[in-house]
Amino acid sequence: MENRLRILRAERGWSQAELAGHLDVSRQAVNAIETGKYDPSLPLAFKVARLFGQSIEQIFLDEVK
């Protein structure tokens, strides 16, 4: 699934490790989400959305649309 996580992270000047710290996950998890190799669970997607103050749909792009 495509997402805007890398862009949102870059806007804040955070490294993957720093974002992982904010989300309480491993750096590998952030990297896997950013590269589209892993789709986060709904609770983690909500956590990402809350952190960046956006809705899930604004961050994770529905490929069907």
Binding site: D24, V25, S26, P43
Partner: protein, 222 residues
């Protein structure tokens, strides 16, 4: 977010000295395992627990010394890691330290059980010779506690991404076992491979664990 790592005395050593010490201690550790195996071979007879209290004191001293060496090694390795860690990383590495700490004494115990099998001394944990009932009960309890405690600690600590890697790894390992056992059975009936023994079964389970670990690592670190 991050917490400073304070490795104390290790920070005062140069990085070359620390790496050298890690290599030297690791080599010494291999020799120590050999010493423990040799000692076990000397005091265990036919899989029975030793009767002399001195044997237990020496075992306790060995485990204490192994814990000390493990702590020195962990401190040295920790001092070489990046200077800040997130809360998740700290919990994660602490979890591995606890699991390894639980595994080492139990692992040594199982090696001792294998070494005590004088007829098949090199077969170690794959040994299938009789042991004393008390040893069997203690071994089963230790293994049960280790596996259950490790699983609970592990699954409570890891994140969503690793949980998925673990579950897929386990699924692939199950398919491996589900294929390996009937294949072996059929091939054994055809006389192509030896009849399935407990040793072969344990080996297949060990191979499935390796398959699980490889799949887990590929999914976690790709």
């Amino acid at each position: 977010m991050g917490a400073q790592i304070n490795a104390g005395w290790a920070d005062r050593l140069g990085s070359t000295a620390r790496v050298t010490l890690i290599v030297v201690i690791s080599i010494l550790g291999i020799f120590m395992i050999g010493m423990v195996a040799g000692f076990s071979y000397a005091v265990f007879e036919d899989g029975k627990l030793p009767t002399k209290p001195l044997a237990y004191i020496i075992f306790a001293a060995m485990i204490g010394f192994a814990a000390l060496v493990g702590w020195v090694l962990a401190t040295l390795i920790r001092s070489l890691r990046p200077q800040s860690m997130s809360g998740f990383d700290r919990r994660y590495w602490r979890m591995w330290a606890v699991i390894v700490g639980l595994s080492i004494p139990i692992g040594i115990g199982f090696v001792m059980l294998g070494v005590s099998d004088r007829a098949n001394g090199i077969s170690l944990v794959l040994s299938n010779s009789p042991i004393a009932p008390l040893t069997a009960i203690l071994g089963s309890l230790a293994l049960g506690v280790l596996l259950i405690a490790s699983a609970v600690i592990y699954h409570r600590t890891i994140d969503d991404h690793e949980e998925r890697a673990y579950l897929w790894g386990s699924t692939i390992a199950f398919y491996f076992l589900a294929l390996a056992f009937p294949l072996h059975w059929l091939l054994a009936r055809g006389g192509i491979v030896p009849v399935l023994t407990i040793g072969v079964a344990l080996l297949l389970i060990l191979l499935s664990c390796i398959v699980q670990a490889i799949a887990w690592a590929l999914l976690k670190f790709r």
